[in-house]
């Protein structure tokens, strides 16, 4: 019963918090650029405005173009419900593991890319092709990170992984450190942040995600934007829950434990949002052809993490 309730709470919270998090990332960036910056609640206003606008659809677009935003949004949201954040006692958590989570994100990406191609505009096609290029290395890298964590904790279920880590079964593991770096690199690429992609611009030479959703407007665009915000929150939750699970509540913890877990989760993702904002202000955008090197590096780090498990006899 509690699992059902917490699961529901989590499902709603993920949606409610995601725009705020995106707003939080923009704050340090604006300050470092010498601007006042929009308040952190600006993304809510943007979504509200988009929802009220008329949705214009190109004549050449097929039915796929109309349903893609819903499919993308639902897949990302579903993926977000799998990942335990403030407690592991959630109804969706035992239903799927991290590999299913990657598959759901892959589905969302697939439909975004198809929608980008659907209208037949050059920018959409360019964005889709680049997105697939990023995914072709980013996805194996993320799976490799998950495999090395699974080898370390003997499970692919996120709830069991967290229980294993907080149970004090592992110390400071080099493999976990390498996996963390690889995971951060993958997260940057998957969310289209600087140095891979710049979410704030529509510069035709470099954009990836923005190019794919360029043809969308109104409620369709709102769904696409919301999916991107939930995806950012999901990746931050993955990093905070798997690598820094302290403060999280478990199955038998009462309401007080869950409240503490909730506070810890919000504090962790806000801190990550601030760090991301600072990081984005410090680095420059990469050339598109260097993305392969960047993500290849992430893949190799994840591979090294697996190799080092055998040296330290953790397996």
């Amino acid at each position: 019963m509690t699992a059902f309730f917490f699961g529901l709470l989590h499902t709603v919270l993920v949606l409610a918090v995601a725009p705020l998090l995106t707003g939080l990332v923009r704050l340090p960036k604006a300050r470092l650029q010498g601007r006042q910056g929009a308040p952190a609640i600006q993304p809510y206003r943007d979504l509200w405005r988009l929802l009220q606008k008329e949705s214009v659809i190109a004549d050449s677009a097929s039915w796929l173009f109309r349903i893609a935003p819903y499919l993308v949004f639902v897949s990302v949201w579903l993926a977000a419900t799998i990942m335990p954040t403030f407690t592991t006692d959630m109804i969706m958590t035992p239903a799927a593991d991290l590999i299913a989570l990657v598959a759901l994100l892959g589905t969302a990406r697939f439909f975004t890319a198809l929608a980008g191609l659907d209208t037949g505009t050059p920018f959409g096609g360019l964005g889709s092709s680049r997105e697939m290029f990023v995914a072709s290395i980013g996805e194996p890298a993320m799976l490799m990170v998950i495999f090395s964590l699974s080898l370390l904790t003997h499970t692919t279920s996120p709830a069991n992984m967290i229980a294993y880590v907080t149970g004090g079964h592992i110390g400071i593991e080099v493999s976990a450190g390498l996996a963390l770096v690889a995971m951060v690199m993958v997260a940057i690429a998957e969310n289209g942040r600087i140095p891979i992609d710049n979410p704030a611009t529509h510069l035709e030479l470099t954009m990836i995600h923005e190019a794919m959703v360029l043809e969308y407007s109104g409620r369709h665009l709102a769904l696409m934007e919301a999916a991107a915000m939930v995806r950012l929150l999901l990746f931050m939750s993955i990093i905070s829950s798997l690598f820094f699970p302290w403060g999280m509540a478990f199955v038998d913890d009462g309401v007080a434990g869950v409240a503490l877990g909730l506070l810890a989760w919000l504090a962790k993702v806000s801190a990550l949002a601030m760090v991301l904002g600072f990081f984005e202000s410090l680095v420059a955008k990469m050339r598109v052809f260097r993305i392969a090197d960047f993500l290849g590096g992430a893949l190799l780090l994840a591979l090294l993490a697996t190799i080092f498990l055998y040296v330290s006899e953790a397996v």
Binding site: G171, I172, E173, V174, G177, L178, V181, A292, D293, G296, G297, L300, L301, L303, L304, I307, F308, Y310, V311, S312, E313
Partner: protein
């Protein structure tokens, strides 16, 4: 907590820490392979030497061996500050191109690097089967750093980056040395000074090569020796 428990707990933490510092050094070796700008390569090498100093200091603390503090200081002063300073001076003085020219692409080099790490683990594990896990891991990490330094020397065209590869290889040797118990200080000091002497010799060589070929690209040396065509 009894004193025996404390020793066990400290042993665990010291093991993890040594392991972690070693992994950071290894990551920096990969960073050297990944980096494309000459000044960034030199800065990264300097950071690697500083982390090496940290590793030596940590081993000194754990093994209760004060002479290792001297090794840490040598690594910090000579390799972390003096050598990068000299290299930067050389780069400025010679006015060479600031981009790194690679003989092999970055991607294949990184893949080769991971292969070398796997190779060093495969080599070290059977040989040290009876040794403690701490020594084994340290040796595997150190050997990987040495091999990556060699790889860097092979895949770079520019003489300065080859020297950085050599220096980072030497970092790997020191990492192996500080992990092993009972390494005499004399050996370490002599290694540090021989590196400095090598540095001076390399400097003179750079000027000689440049004077003769107007470039530091060692491909010119190969044609000069008649190796190509």
């Amino acid at each position: 907590m009894t004193s025996a428990d404390q020793i066990v707990a400290l042993g665990h933490v010291s093991y993890d820490m040594a392991h972690l510092i070693g992994a950071v050094i290894l990551m920096m070796s990969f960073g050297l392979l990944y980096q494309r700008r000459l000044t960034a390569v030199i800065r990264l090498y300097s950071f690697q030497a500083m982390v090496l100093a940290l590793a030596a200091a940590w081993q000194a603390f754990v093994q209760d061996a004060p002479h290792l503090y001297a090794s840490a200081l040598i690594a910090l002063l000579f390799k972390g500050i003096a050598v990068p300073f000299a290299l930067n001076w050389l780069v400025r003085r010679l006015g060479i191109h600031r981009t790194v020219e690679t003989a092999l692409g970055i991607g294949p080099t990184m893949i080769a690097g991971v292969g070398l790490v796997a190779l060093s683990i495969v080599l070290v594990l059977p040989v040290t089967a009876s040794a403690a896990a701490m020594t084994r891991e340290n040796l595997a990490l150190a050997m990987s750093v040495v091999l990556l330094g060699l790889l860097m020397m092979i895949t770079r065209r520019n003489a300065v980056t080859q020297v950085v590869g050599f220096m980072s290889l030497e970092n790997g040797l020191i990492l192996a040395a500080v992990g092993a118990r009972g390494m005499p200080l004399v050996v370490e000091i002599s290694i540090a000074f021989s590196v400095l002497v090598a540095m001076a010799l390399f400097g003179i060589f750079f000027f000689r090569i440049r004077e003769r070929f107007d470039s530091l690209d060692i491909a010119y040396l190969e044609t000069f020796r008649g190796e190509r065509r």
